[in-house]
C-alpha cells in the first residue's frame, strides 16, 4: 500500500487555503443527519466535539474520566506557542515553522508543520475570546515568555496552569453544545474496539466503567483524541489512566502506527524516590528560563548543594550549548542530564537527579519577581518534596513525557482507515522526532478546533448517501463478542501476580532500553523480555472482582495488555531506525562529541507500521523537503 | 424559591435586628443613672416608644423581622439538612472553621428562647396587660422602670439574662460578618473592616447587655 499524505498543491503558505478551497462541503440540512464519534475529551477531543457540533453534526463524546474536565491536557503547565510577534523580536510564521521543523530534527512533514505555525496566531485570538485568562502586561496586552529550542518569546501562558485553562475553555464549549443537545457526553466509558465495515470506520465498542456493560455505538466517522501513551514506561508524567488502548485497537483493525518509538523524555521532572512510586511529577520547562542547571564537578559529591562553591559546579548545558544554554531543546537537555548522571555526577538520595538553581535569578531579579513568575511551581515542589526551592536548588530528573509517535495520519488527519481520524497527541503529524515546548497544547487545539472540522467534511460528503448501518451489523456483533470473550478470559486466569507487577516489569525494560538512549543489543533483548512479560501476564495475572461492576483492576489489566503489545512495536521501530534523530538516540549513531548523527540519505521517511498477525510490516512515507533544506541540528 | 432569597431575608432582617439592639442597649444604659433621674427618663422614653406612630410602625417591622428571621432560618436549615443526609464518621470541622459558624442554628435557638421569656416578662405585661398590673410614676407614665428594676433584683433572672448574652454575642459576631457577604458586599478591605467591626460590635452588645443587670442588682 502506497501511503498518500494528500498534501495540497502550491507554495507552503498557500497549501491550507488551497485545500479548503477544494474540499467538499455539506449542506447544513444534511449535516444534521451525520453522526460523529469523538473518543477523548481533552483539548483536541473537546475542541473537535464542540466545533463539529457547532457546525451541525451530531456528536457523541466518550471519556474514561468522571468528567471531560479531567483530561490530561489539564496538566500542561508552561504555555502555548503562537507566531504573533507581539514582542517585536523578529518572530514570524516562517520562523516558527522552521523552529518546529528543526526542533523535530526534520522528521515531520513541511506542510503540516507550516500549517501548525500558520494557524497558531488565530488560535490565541480564539482562546482569548473563550475567556482564557492569559497572562497580561500592565498595559493590558498579552504577555509572553520563551521556551526551549527557541530564541524568540512566543509562548502565551496562564501562570503555570496553561493547559488547565485551555482545557477548561474547551470543556465549557463542549458543555455549551451539550446544553444545545448537539453533543451527548459519555463519561466513565472506555473504548475497547473499533468497528470497521466495508473498510470504513463505522463505530466503536465501549465498556461502561460503572456498570461494566459492553455497548455498541455507530457513527459516520470516528475521531480518536486519546492522547499519549508514555504510560508504557509506567513511570511518566502522564495521568495514571492515560493509555494507548484505543489507538492500539485501531492499529490492529488496520490503522498504521507511525514512529511509535519517538518518545520525548522531559528533562525537568521530579526524580523517582521509591519503588512503589506511581508517577513522576513534571516541573514546567518554563523554569529553565531563569533557573540554571548544574551538577557537582566532583563525582559522588555528598555535600549539600548550598555547600558546593561556585567554581566546583558544572553548568553543563551552558558549557556544552553556549548559545541556547539552559534553554536547549528537551531531548538534548534530557540526554545531557543522563550523561552526567551516568558518569557519577547525579545528586539526591538515589543519585538520579541534577540541580535546577534559582539563586542567581533571585539575586538578579529579586525574590518577588521569581515568586510572581513561578510561585505556584515552587509551592507544588514544596508540597511534594517538603523542600523550599527559594533557599536550595530543586532536584530534577528526566521522565517519559510526550509521544511524538502515534497513528499515521495524512494532511486531513485521517488514518489509513477511511473515516477514522486521529487528532492531538495520539497521531503522528507535526512534531517529528522531538516536540518543542509549548507546541503540544498548540497542536492538540489546532487539530480539534481548526483542522479536523475543516477536513472531516471532505470525507463525510461521500458518506451522505451511503446506506446507513446500525449496531446490529455482524461487524458490531462480532466485535462485542470478542471483547466479552477477552474480558472473561483475562478474569479467568486467576494467577498470582498483580497487574501493577507486570506494569513495573514492562516499565523497567522500556526505560532501560527504549528511552533516552538505545542500542541494538538492548532493543533486541528488550523485545525478548517483553515477549516473556506478555506470556507471563496471560498466565499469571490476577484480577479480583467481576466484569459487571466498576472494577479498576480490570481496567488496568486491559490497558496493560495493549501496552505490552505496543511496547513490542516501539522497540521494533527503534531497532529498525539505524540513525539518531531528535528523541531517538541510537548509541551506535553519534558524533565524536556525543551528538545525534542523523542519516538523512537513508532515513528521511516516516516509519508507518502495519499490524499483521505475525509481525509488524513497515511502510515508508518519504519526507520531501521542498522548502527547507535539512541541516545538522545545532544548539551550540 | 432560590437559594439567595432565603439567605437574603435572614441577612437583612438580621442586620435590622443588629440596629435595633443598638437602640435597645442605649435605652438600657439609662438604668445606670441615679435612680430618680433614671426612673423618670426611662419611663418617659418607653412611653414615647409606645405612643409615637412612626415608632409603632418600626415595632411592627421588628416583630416581623424576628419572625421572618426565625422562619427563614428554619427553611434554610431544612434544606441544608436535606443536602447532607449522611454525616461523616469523623469530622474535624474545628480545624477549618469556627465553632460558631458551624452552629448558628443551635445558638439561635437559645436566643429565641431568651426572646420568648424576655417578651413574656416585659412586653406581655406592659403592652398586653397580662399578669400583674403595672403602676404609674410621678409624671403619670407607666412605671416600666419598676418592672425592669424588680426583675433585675432577682438573681435568677439576672443570671439567666446575662448568661444568654454569650450566645447572643457569638451569633451577632458571625451574623454581622456574613450578612454583608450574603447581601453581596465583596470589597476585600471593606470585608476585613467589617470582620473587625463585627468583633467589636458583638463584644459591646454581649458585655453591655450582660453587665447592666448586674450593676442594677448591686446598685
Amino acid at each position: 500500500m502506497k501511503l498518500n499524505a494528500k498534501i495540497p498543491e502550491g507554495k507552503l503558505e498557500e497549501k491550507w487555503r488551497n485545500y479548503q478551497l477544494k474540499s467538499k462541503l455539506i449542506n447544513p440540512a444534511n449535516k444534521k443527519k451525520l453522526n460523529v464519534i469523538v473518543v477523548g475529551s481533552g483539548l483536541s477531543g473537546a475542541g473537535a466535539a464542540a466545533t463539529l457540533a457547532e457546525l451541525g453534526y451530531n456528536v457523541q463524546c466518550f471519556c474514561y474520566q468522571d468528567s471531560a474536565r479531567r483530561a490530561h491536557s489539564v496538566a500542561a503547565q508552561g504555555g502555548i506557542n503562537a507566531a504573533k510577534n507581539y514582542q517585536h523580536d523578529g518572530d514570524s510564521v516562517w520562523r516558527m515553522f522552521h523552529d518546529t521543523l528543526k526542533g523535530g530534527d526534520f522528521r515531520s512533514r513541511e506542510a503540516n508543520t507550516y500549517r501548525l505555525a500558520e494557524l497558531s496566531a488565530p488560535l490565541i485570538d480564539h482562546f482569548t475570546q473563550q475567556g482564557v485568562p492569559f497572562a497580561r502586561e500592565y498595559g493590558g496586552v498579552l504577555a509572553n515568555r520563551s521556551f526551549g529550542g527557541v530564541q524568540v518569546q512566543r509562548t502565551f501562558y496562564a501562570r503555570g496552569q496553561t493547559g488547565q485553562q485551555l482545557l477548561l475553555a474547551a470543556y465549557s464549549q463542549l458543555y455549551k453544545m451539550i446544553r444545545a443537545k448537539k453533543v451527548t457526553m459519555f463519561p466513565r466509558t472506555e473504548m475497547l474496539d473499533l468497528v470497521v465495515i466495508d473498510g470504513r470506520a463505522k463505530g466503536i465498542i465501549i465498556r461502561d466503567l460503572v456498570s461494566g456493560e459492553i455497548k455498541r455505538y455507530v457513527a459516520d466517522a470516528v475521531v480518536l483524541a486519546t492522547g499519549g501513551y508514555s504510560r508504557v514506561f509506567r513511570l511518566s508524567t502522564l495521568a495514571i489512566g492515560c493509555n494507548g488502548s484505543a489507538i492500539w485497537k485501531a492499529h490492529k483493525k488496520g490503522a498504521f502506527f507511525a514512529a511509535p518509538s519517538f518518545t520525548q523524555i522531559h528533562p525537568t521532572a521530579l526524580p523517582q524516590s521509591s519503588e512503589t512510586q506511581s508517577k513522576l511529577t513534571l516541573m514546567s520547562e518554563s523554569l529553565r528560563n531563569d533557573g540554571r542547571i548544574w551538577v557537582p564537578k566532583k563525582k559522588e559529591d555528598t555535600r549539600k548543594a548550598n555547600d558546593i562553591p561556585e567554581e566546583e559546579r558544572d553548568y553543563y548545558l551552558e558549557r556544552r550549548y553556549p548559545s541556547f544554554g539552559n534553554l536547549a531543546p528537551r531531548d538534548i537537555a534530557s540526554r545531557a542530564a543522563k550523561e552526567r548522571i551516568d558518569n557519577g555526577h547525579g545528586v539526591g538520595r538515589f543519585r538520579n537527579a541534577v540541580y535546577l538553581d534559582f539563586k542567581h535569578a533571585i539575586e538578579r531579579l529579586g525574590l518577588e519577581t521569581i515568586k510572581d513568575r513561578y510561585g505556584n511551581l515552587f509551592k507544588m515542589y514544596k508540597k511534594i518534596t517538603g523542600v523550599d526551592a527559594y533557599k536550595e536548588p530543586m532536584q530534577i530528573s528526566p521522565a517519559a513525557h510526550f509521544s511524538m509517535g502515534g497513528l499515521w495520519v495524512d494532511y486531513e488527519l485521517m488514518t489509513t482507515i477511511p473515516g477514522l481520524y486521529a487528532i492531538g497527541e495520539c497521531n503522528f503529524s507535526d512534531h517529528g522526532a522531538n516536540r518543542l515546548g509549548a507546541n503540544s497544547l498548540l497542536q492538540a487545539s489546532l487539530d480539534g478546533y481548526f483542522i479536523l472540522p475543516n477536513t472531516i467534511n471532505n470525507y463525510l460528503a461521500s458518506e451522505e448517501n451511503r446506506a446507513p448501518v446500525d449496531t446490529n451489523h455482524p461487524a458490531f456483533v462480532d466485535a462485542e463478542k470478542k471483547i466479552k470473550g477477552d474480558i472473561e478470559h483475562i478474569l479467568s486466569i486467576n494467577g498470582n501476580q498483580t497487574v501493577d507487577h507486570f506494569h513495573r516489569e514492562l516499565g523497567k525494560v522500556m526505560w532501560q532500553n527504549c528511552a533516552m538512549s538505545r542500542n541494538q543489543a538492548g532493543l533486541e533483548s528488550a523485545i525478548e523480555q517483553i515477549k516473556k512479560i506478555k506470556k507471563a501476564f496471560w498466565q499469571e495475572v490476577k484480577i479480583t472482582g467481576h466484569s459487571q461492576e466498576l472494577n479498576t483492576e480490570l481496567e488496568k489489566a486491559l490497558r496493560l495488555a495493549d501496552f505490552i503489545e505496543l511496547a513490542l512495536l516501539m522497540c521494533t521501530d527503534a531497532l529498525q531506525r539505524d540513525e539518531s534523530c531528535g528523541a531517538h538516540f541510537r548509541e551506535e549513531y553519534q558524533t565524536k562529541d556525543g551528538e545525534a548523527w542523523r542519516r538523512d540519505k537513508e532515513y528521511t521517511y516516516v516509519s508507518a507500521w502495519e499490524y499483521t498477525k505475525d509481525y509488524f510490516k513497515l511502510h515508508k512515507e518519504e519526507l520531501d523537503f521542498e522548502f527547507v533544506k535539512p541541516t545538522v541540528r545545532s544548539y551550540k | 424559591m432560590d437559594l439567595f432569597f432565603r439567605k437574603g431575608v435572614i441577612a437583612s432582617t438580621g442586620l435590622f435586628l443588629c440596629l435595633f439592639l443598638i437602640v435597645h442597649l442605649s435605652a438600657n444604659c439609662i438604668l445606670l443613672l441615679p435612680e430618680d433621674i433614671s426612673r423618670e427618663l426611662y419611663n418617659s422614653y418607653s412611653t414615647t416608644l409606645r405612643e409615637n406612630l412612626l415608632i409603632k410602625l418600626v415595632a411592627y417591622i421588628l416583630y416581623l423581622s424576628i419572625i421572618l428571621h426565625v422562619v427563614y432560618a428554619l427553611l434554610v436549615t431544612i434544606r441544608n439538612r436535606k443536602s447532607t443526609p449522611i454525616k461523616y464518621a469523623v469530622n474535624h470541622s474545628n480545624e477549618n472553621s469556627s465553632w460558631t459558624s458551624q452552629n448558628m442554628g443551635f445558638i439561635g435557638f437559645f436566643i429565641l428562647l431568651f426572646i420568648v421569656i424576655h417578651l413574656a416578662n416585659f412586653w406581655a405585661r406592659i403592652k398586653l396587660g397580662m399578669g400583674e398590673e403595672v403602676g404609674t410614676d410621678a409624671l403619670g407614665n407607666l412605671d416600666v422602670y419598676e418592672v425592669t428594676s424588680s426583675l433585675f433584683h432577682n438573681i435568677y433572672y439576672v443570671s439567666f439574662y446575662s448568661l444568654l448574652m454569650i450566645p447572643l454575642g457569638l451569633h451577632l459576631h458571625h451574623g454581622l460578618k456574613s450578612a454583608f457577604k450574603t447581601l453581596g458586599f465583596y470589597h476585600k478591605k471593606g470585608l476585613q473592616a467589617i470582620a473587625k467591626i463585627a468583633v467589636v460590635y458583638a463584644l459591646i452588645m454581649s458585655i453591655g447587655f450582660g453587665i447592666i443587670p448586674f450593676i442594677v442588682y448591686f446598685k
Binding site: 474536565r69 470543556y171 508540597k383 | 477549618n96 458551624q102 453581596g184 458586599f185
Partner: protein
C-alpha cells in the same frame, strides 16, 4: 512505616456500606497517600479480595479527580492541597487513618470512595461558558485586559472542580465552585454580553441540584486546593442581585 486504614467500603450505590479496617505495613514516608492505597490494593488482590475503588488520575494536583475525606478533613490534614499531593509523612506511625467518600446528597456514592460529581458539570452546562463559535474571534490584543483583572480572574479560574468545597461544607453548598466560574467569566470583557443570564442560569441549576445554602463557615476556602477566596461567594451574590435588578 505501618498504619491502620479504616476505609469506607460500599459495593454499589444501593449497598449500605460499612467501614473496614486494614493493617498496612511496608509503607515509606515519601509515598503519596494514593500510592499507599495502591500498595494496599495490591495486597488485597493477592488476598483474593476486591480492591478499594477510588478516583484519581493526574496525581499532580490539577485534574481534580481525586478527593476523599481523611481523618475528618477534605483532602486530608493540610490546607489547600489535593489528596494526591498528600504524603504518608503527614501521618504518624501506627495511627488509624479514617478514609470516607465525599458526603453530600448531590454527590451520591458510586462505589467505595468514588462519588458522582456530575452535578458540577451540569452547573457548567448552564452558562459556564462564553457563547462564541469557533472561528469568530477578533484579534486578541484588540480588547486590553488589565493585569490586575487578569490576575484576579486567574485566581478563580484555577478551580479544579474536585468538590472539596462541597464535601467540607456542613450544608453541602456548591457556592464556592459556582461563584468561581461566574466571577471568572463575568469579570472578563469577553464574558460581559451574557453576564446576567449566566448568573441566573448557573445559580438556578445550582439550586436545582441537591446543594445546600452557603452560611459562610469558611471551611471551603481552607480546604480548596487552589485557595479560592470565600469572598467570591459574596461577589456572586452581588452579581446575582445586579442581574435580578438590571436584566
Amino acid at each position: 512505616m505501618k498504619v491502620r486504614f479504616k476505609i469506607w467500603r460500599q459495593d454499589s450505590p444501593i449497598d449500605k456500606g460499612s467501614f473496614k479496617v486494614y493493617e498496612v505495613d511496608g509503607l515509606n514516608p515519601d509515598m503519596s497517600f494514593l500510592e499507599a492505597l495502591d500498595h494496599l490494593n495490591e495486597k488485597l488482590v493477592l488476598r483474593n479480595e476486591k480492591v478499594i475503588a477510588f478516583d484519581h488520575d493526574c496525581r499532580e494536583g490539577i485534574c481534580g479527580q481525586c478527593g476523599v475525606f481523611i481523618n475528618g478533613r477534605a483532602h486530608g490534614p493540610h490546607e489547600n492541597t489535593t489528596t494526591c499531593q498528600l504524603h504518608m509523612r503527614s501521618f504518624e506511625e501506627g495511627k488509624v487513618i479514617v478514609v470516607e467518600p465525599w458526603r453530600a446528597k448531590a454527590f451520591p456514592v458510586i462505589k467505595d470512595l468514588i462519588v458522582d460529581r456530575s452535578a458540577f458539570d451540569r452547573i457548567i452546562e448552564h452558562g459556564g461558558y462564553i457563547s462564541a463559535k469557533t472561528g469568530t474571534a477578533s484579534e486578541a490584543n484588540a480588547i486590553p485586559v488589565g493585569k490586575d483583572i487578569a490576575e484576579r480572574v486567574m485566581d478563580v479560574a484555577a478551580c479544579i472542580g474536585c468538590g472539596a468545597c462541597v464535601a467540607t461544607c456542613k450544608n453541602s453548598s456548591a457556592a464556592l465552585f459556582t461563584s468561581a466560574k461566574i466571577n471568572h467569566l463575568n469579570s472578563l470583557p469577553q464574558g460581559k454580553p451574557e453576564e446576567h443570564q449566566r448568573v441566573l442560569d448557573m445559580t438556578a441549576q445550582m439550586a436545582k441540584e441537591d446543594f445546600g445554602h452557603c452560611t459562610f463557615t469558611g471551611a471551603c476556602e481552607v480546604e480548596c486546593p487552589e485557595g479560592i477566596s470565600i469572598n467570591n461567594i459574596a461577589e456572586m451574590n452581588a452579581r446575582f442581585l445586579k442581574a435580578k435588578l438590571f436584566r
